[in-house]
């Protein structure tokens, strides 16, 4: 047993999380996993911010022009000040007041968090947004006037932009240069949704007591299969009244037959009882696996038996 635990996993277990996760260790000492935001979402958020702030600044300038509040040089300086403030200061103020979110990030459900497990400090916010000047605004402006640039300058701008895109693409945490300097990460705001406990509802239905599983019938599956079954049952519950319920019922039938055959459950399951059978099996399997886990026997998926035999050889 100890030999099995000590052996390195020979293969990636089924159902390993493929999302990019950032592990943050808060002072409470329990690691939290945030989903790192994709570059597409970040680009969209940045675009929304630019369009919104520039639009607002232009509107203010146009209104002052139309109302003839300011003319000539004062208008120029009002405009210059406004366009100064919609660059770095806007992002710094927004991320400070809204805890790491700008309007664009809010719309795209993104958030800036500190990579060191502490709260986001003012220095981090200022540093990551100052670098924005060099990473986004300047190359963006040069790209807009690209047609007027000479060949050498044009190539330089292209190289500059390519490098800036390559940094977050090559980075495991999708950090741009400003994020690296400030030690920040941009993450997806996780949605909070708690579905009912299948193990609690399964008890309530009397029909579940009809199905009894023997210990050797519960040795076949691991955590991954259990959680796939959980997902299936949850979606069956949600879709009970939906139009494509027939397809869900067909899925349930296939799965129920597969499981029945695999574990060698002797009795035939009536089509009307398939869902109840699966729920009863889910409950028994989960109770069994959780108990094994408490004893140190973690079963990641259905191959747990194979691995053990190869390791013991």
């Amino acid at each position: 047993m100890t030999a099995v635990l000590a052996a390195p996993p020979a293969r990636r277990p089924l159902g390993t999380d493929r999302r990019r996760l950032a592990e943050i260790l808060p002072p409470e000492g329990v690691a939290l996993h945030f989903e790192i935001a994709g570059l597409g979402a970040r680009f969209a958020a940045q675009l929304i911010d630019i369009v919104l702030t520039l639009g607002l600044a232009l509107a203010v300038v146009l209104i002052t022009l139309l109302l003839e509040l300011g003319v000539g040089p004062s208008l120029v300086s009002i405009g210059a000040l406004l366009f100064f403030f919609v660059r770095v200061p806007y992002y710094v103020a927004a991320e400070l007041v809204w805890n790491g979110q700008t309007i664009g990030k809010r719309i795209c459900a993104l958030r800036v968090i500190s990579g060191n497990g502490r709260s986001l400090s003012a220095h981090q916010i200022v540093a990551r947004n100052l670098m924005k000047e060099m990473e986004i605004f300047l190359p963006g402006m040069y790209a807009l006037v690209a047609a007027d640039l000479g060949l050498v300058e044009g190539l330089l701008v292209v190289a500059w932009i390519a490098t800036l895109i390559a940094v977050p693409v090559a980075n495991k945490r999708r950090q741009r240069v400003g994020d690296i300097i400030a030690e920040t990460i941009v993450v997806h705001q996780p949605p909070i949704l708690l579905e009912g406990d299948l193990a609690a509802t399964a008890r309530a239905t009397p029909v579940s007591q009809r199905f009894v599983f023997l210990p050797h019938q519960l040795e076949h599956y691991g955590r991954f299969e259990l959680q796939v079954l959980e997902k299936l049952l949850h979606s069956a519950e949600r879709l009970r009244n939906a139009s494509d319920h027939d397809r869900t019922r067909a899925n349930l039938a296939v799965v129920a037959e597969r499981i029945r055959a695999k574990i060698g459950y002797g009795e035939r399951v009536d089509p009307s009882e398939r869902e109840a059978f699966l729920r009863a099996f889910y409950l028994a399997q989960r109770a069994h696996l959780e108990q094994r886990q408490l004893f140190g026997d973690v079963r990641a998926d259905k191959f747990h038996g194979n691995q053990k035999s190869t390791d013991q050889r």
Binding site: I24, P26, E28, V30, L32, H33, F34, G72, P73, S74, V76, S77, L81, F84, V88, A93, L96, V97, N99, I113, R118, S119, L120, S121, A122, H123, I125, V126, A127, L130, E133, M134, I181, P190, P191, I192, L193, L194, E195, D197, L198, A199, A200, R203, Q209, F213, R223, L226, Q227, E230, K231, L283, A284, R286, A287, H288, L289, E290, Q293, L294
Partner: protein, 336 residues
């Protein structure tokens, strides 16, 4: 299965005992996200901290004993959101701004003596070199001043033409001077940004500021040659002192990064960069604020003040005020 059929399994009991606290936490976190933690009443704020710690402990236990995916995902997401609500930046915008200008910025300037000296040296050296070269051969002027900045002020210009540029402030908005002023502002901002971000490699930043010094030196030499050096000096002083100080400060910020990279001391280069970054960022922000002040002086004050001695007084008064601010402000207070 050996357990009695009516008895719930362990992880389900675990969940049922705690669910209500999680929902309470979820409601408080939702409110904190919408309205800010400051908007919470005392009881909710207290409950937030307690419930957060309970939820984190629950998550830690649930990872060990439960295989309920929906529970694990929910708890993880809840803890993540609650963590962000509990450890939100606690600073107000006003407090941050006042602390920066009262303590942070002047202390950062005082810590950056060497970098400031280097930046000032680059600027002064450029000015002197251009001035000296102009004395030996005036055609250097065309090399240092690009034609789009010169705006008609060439080596062939007469004294009255040059003087005309300085005194035609009334027509500043649409005259050549206005264009020059607008160019200068964006030019100096670009120089400041460039000098800061190139400072990490030191040499390009030095060259950039040096070349900026060359332009100033050449322009001066031209005016001195026509005997109207003082007029130009007064004209530039109004905003130029603030603006050149801002460029120097921004360049010093860049140099701090470059120096940290070249001489990391006992630290790794990455750690040294991060550490110098604290001051460098402060210097960059300070320089930006100074450029805004300079733009204000340039567009509002310079037009209304035509007198040479008054122009000199304003310009150098501002310079003295800046230096006093750098050396005296925020002493004996920690900036943490």
């Amino acid at each position: 299965m050996s357990a009695a059929p009516q008895q719930l399994i362990r992880s389900t009991r675990f969940r049922q005992e705690r669910e209500h606290d999680w929902w309470k936490l979820e409601a408080i976190v939702g409110r904190a996200e919408r309205e800010g933690v400051a908007a919470l009443d005392f009881d909710s704020a207290l409950a937030l901290a307690q419930l957060y710690r309970q939820a984190v402990a629950s998550l830690s236990v649930a990872r060990e004993i439960s295989l309920d995916r929906s529970l694990l995902d929910y708890l993880e997401a809840l803890c993540c959101r609650a963590y962000l609500a509990v450890y939100a930046p606690q600073e107000t915008l006003r407090g941050l701004v006042s602390r920066f200008f009262a303590v942070g910025a002047p202390q950062a300037v005082r810590r950056s003596g060497l970098a400031l000296a280097l930046a000032a040296l680059a600027l002064a050296l450029g000015t002197l070199v251009a001035f000296a070269l102009f004395q030996s051969d005036p055609s250097w002027y065309n090399t240092f001043i690009p034609s789009r900045v010169a705006e008609g002020r060439g080596i062939a210009s007469t004294r009255s033409e040059l003087l005309d540029v300085l005194s035609r402030d009334a027509a500043a908005s649409n005259g050549r001077l206005g264009a020059f002023a607008a160019y200068l502002f964006s030019h100096n901002t670009t120089i400041a940004i460039g000098a800061f971000s190139l400072g990490i490699a030191c040499v390009p930043s030095f060259l950039l500021v040096f070349s900026n010094g060359l332009m100033i030196g050449a322009l001066f030499a031209l005016y001195v040659d026509r005997g109207i050096g003082l007029e130009l000096f007064a004209w530039l002083s109004v905003h130029g002192t603030t603006e050149l100080l801002a460029v120097t400060v921004a360049t010093a910020g860049g140099f701090r990064l470059g120096l940290a990279l070249i001489f990391p001391g006992q630290l790794t280069r990455r750690a040294a960069l991060r550490r110098a970054g604290h001051d460098a960022v402060k210097l960059a922000v300070l320089a930006a604020a100074m450029l805004v002040v300079a733009a204000f002086l340039e567009s509002f004050v310079r037009q209304r003040v035509g007198d040479i001695s008054l122009r000199l007084a304003i310009g150098w008064g501002a310079a003295v005020l800046w230096l006093a601010y750098f050396t005296l402000a925020g002493r004996g207070r920690s900036a943490s």
